[in-house]
Symmetry: C2
Subunit: 332 residues, 2 copies
């Protein structure tokens, strides 16, 4: 459970702007291009009473991927940077890591070598560093890390590596009666401690990957102990499954940036009534990063190829967004 | 996803009364006993601004078991009666059931014999009858069943087998800024189609046991196909796990009726600040049923023995409740 005292550690976090539904311009960081128009048209049509497209508030569910959609994901997923820092912090308790991969390479500073083991190496790294403590203790570890860790390229806190246009969009949709959910391949318990403060998304509206937990009473206190076993992978075809488990309603709008969001976009947009799908295309290698088909992180190929026939809006970051981050851009 | 057209099939459902926080008596079906006083004291203290016990609205999470807490569970769990009816409906498609247990005994009308296989027989019965269709189609099957099926003792629709005092309590807590969640050992997808209409609890606030689902596109339509495999058992120590997965906050109030709720009660009530735990004790064999330690359904022993030292309120149905069901009682 999130402790209020721990939240205050997030002194440097971005604050989601408040948009009003009748704001003359609820999306000031968006240029006047087709993407902005498509968003405004969709929200306007489903919220207009009497319109054929009208959707009652309880069905206004919008789902947002996190990595690469709400915050950056280069040069690697921020949760992986967290895991790497945890290896360094925990190695006194795990002397065996000095000789065991992927830990040994990491401890020698060879991140590339450590990650060359691919998915199994990454899963091992995450599972080992994210378990062995209570859920409450893990919350504090995440918040402590966010309060001090800096992005390796921009030297900014990770909670500032969020996209201002997307913060505006989240606030605008909520002001229009939507409930905004995060549906991410990242860890649900890695995001929950700060998602409310940074995005305005409360813990119960965060869906993500998870490890197993076990209920126990320790020293008279009931806790959920985190185990080093995978419970659920909320990625690709797992996203609609996670949405169904958590929400039990089919979203009418979905926002993503990679092929890991393809099935979520399909699930949300191929249904009755007016629907909306949007892909954030990373096209700005000066202010952010430019990558798609050939990137090992946030690879975007299938979803991009099928965006047009699916009626999905593709955001061209370079041309559609006036600003990227609250502090500007990687280089301005 | 729940179709609005299907909801209207629930013509006979109970409607949760609307309570206002400043209602002179928000719990009119409760006698003026210690149980009612304990509820009013708790809600009053955590909602009073400036009080040492004050809890902000976002942390006012209350969790309710379903079977035996919000609706009856005798002579057997209603979902099991649903599964038995499904066997009869589906046997033309499953000729092998004529000779395979537990189906063969059921089809001969020998329910006791069928269930003598215990937990494995019950799980097989539920898994086989709850899978092989899309999530949307399952919603409709549940609603169709509820629209016509009758309780074997009272001959009332199952949606009338709900406890009026608990409907008042749900409405009162919501009017007091709580979010009310169902956390049940029953199937999440068995409850979601009707919980909003009957209890005022929307799909995203229902936590329960579940089978695996698989995302697929069938005839151009994205669906979640229900598989005959267990995903999660939301009972006993699984309840705090389910609460953590779905809500990500520790509830401050929990309501149950059996040992299957023990860990949920511990998790919710053993924490900082004012907390509330309540056990519905089935003591009225005229208007409802009387059972506890020796019942195979809703067995209540450990939680009852530890209720006093845990500070949990034990509702004596016979003496604490003026009325039981919207139609009165089993016999009045």
């Amino acid at each position: 459970m999130l402790k209020l005292s721990a939240v205050s550690l997030l002194a440097t976090s971005a604050v989601a702007p408040v948009a009003l539904a009748d704001d003359p311009d609820p999306l000031p960081s968006w240029n006047e291009t087709a993407s902005k128009k498509a968003i405004l048209d969709f929200v306007g049509s489903v919220t207009k009473e009497g319109s054929a497209d009208f959707v009652p508030e309880e069905e206004r569910i919008a789902v947002f991927d996190n990595d690469g959609t709400l915050w950056a994901e280069q040069p690697m997923y921020f949760q992986l940077l967290f895991a790497i820092d945890r290896v360094k912090a925990l190695v006194p308790l795990h002397p065996e890591w000095q000789t065991e991969e992927p830990f040994a390479s990491l401890l020698k500073g060879d991140v590339k070598g450590a990650l060359s083991g691919g998915e199994p190496a990454i899963m091992k790294l995450v599972m080992e560093t994210h378990s062995g403590m209570s859920a409450d203790d893990f919350d504090k570890i995440v918040l402590d890390w966010l309060a001090t860790a800096k992005h390796p390229v921009t030297n900014r806190p990770f909670t500032e590596m969020v996209y201002t246009p997307m913060l505006e969009l989240l606030a605008y949709m909520r002001a229009s009666g939507f409930r905004t959910y995060i549906v991410s391949g990242g860890g649900i318990d890695f995001m929950r401690p700060w998602a409310d403060k940074v995005y305005g998304v409360p813990p119960e509206q965060v869906v993500g990957s998870s490890g197993e937990t076990k209920f126990m009473v320790r020293d008279g206190v009931p806790i959920l102990m985190r185990l080093p076993e995978i419970n659920f992978i909320d990625d690709g075809p797992g996203k609609p499954v996670g949405i169904h488990q958590h929400i039990g309603r089919r979203p009418i709008a979905a926002f993503g940036n990679s092929d890991g969001d393809f099935e979520m976009l399909e699930y949300a947009t191929r249904g009755e009534g007016r629907r909306f799908g949007l892909i954030v295309h990373h096209t700005d290698d000066v202010r952010e990063w430019a990558y798609d088909r050939n990137s090992s992180i946030g690879r975007l190929e299938k979803a991009l190829d099928l965006a047009n026939e699916s009626g999905w809006t593709v955001v061209d970051m370079k041309n559609d967004w006036k600003t990227i981050f609250p502090f500007g851009g990687k280089q301005d």
